[in-house]
Amino acid sequence: MSDVAISVAADDAAEAGARIRDFVLLLKPRVMSLVVFSGFAGLMVAPGDLHPVLAAVAILCIAVGSGAAGAINMWYDRDIDAVMARTCARPIPAGRVDPNEAVSFGIVLAIGSVTLMGLAVNWLAAGLLAAAIAYYVLVYTIWLKRRTPQNIVIGGAAGAFPPLIGWAAVTGSVGLAPIALFLLIFMWTPPHFWALALYRAGDYAKAGIPMLPVVAGAGATKLQMLVYTVLLLPLGLAPWVLGITGAFYGLTAAVLGALFIVAAVRVLYDSGERAARQMFAFSILYLFLLFTVLILDRAPGLLGGTLT
């Protein structure tokens, strides 16, 4: 092979790699990891058996469905993403992906993930996945995000669907326990996002997004964050109260819930950004730890059998 041919092949590979990376970024991989994890928790907590291959397919469909919603969101929000420092380097505002390609990609993945979930697992799980995607795109992105400071409160329900989907994939039904997990994420979302919005308020104001710190000010936001973290504490304990987990989970939920309240109190009395940044980081850790213990608690021979 000549030097020129090798050079062209290397350029091709680099080009393909960059393109693939941009399309992966459209799927919002960091959001996807939390979605997949909570979906997996729903799958693990649910009573009954699902073949490991079908369980993997269900998780794949949740991941792809979440990514599809992210891609459509990036297509719709490309104008405000270009204005904000946090989002201006995303593939569409940076000019690396054509908006039409991005929205087509999102729609194809959304239809593909819902169809595959229905055919491989069951149609209730597929319906819930479709509802989650539609809720995120239509209710949160298109309807609420630019209109009301309650955007994240109502729109946050979209991110609360995964445990319901995981549970429905195994059982073919929806019960009280997955609804408790849904409410847990629903109540966790506002303090999580408002912590971020507190130190990104300037960015949101520039883009004209009515996030609570922009519209009501930092003081009112911090107070509401505290209210939500207080309400979150009993919801965190709900899986233990409902008897789907053991005492170790209950203890962990109580400690993490109390720490989340402490973080909110620190934000309330902090005039700078430091406490808000720490609370944002802790909120992610909170959900990961809580769902990790939830999964471990249900794993045969682990915590559930010894500490209930």
Partner: protein, 42 residues
């Protein structure tokens, strides 16, 4: 259209074709495995 621009377009098209082929083959394999599992009563 200039030659480098045409070349770039052709390279992008080729990269997209390979990506599409990979995805389609992956999907075929996945559906095959799902079919086997479901026929086995999984």
């Amino acid at each position: 259209m200039s030659a480098p621009a045409g070349d770039l377009r052709q390279r992008r098209q080729r990269a997209r074709n390979w990506a599409l082929l990979t995805v389609l083959l992956g999907l075929v394999a996945l559906i095959y495995v799902i079919a086997i599992v479901r026929m086995g009563g999984g």
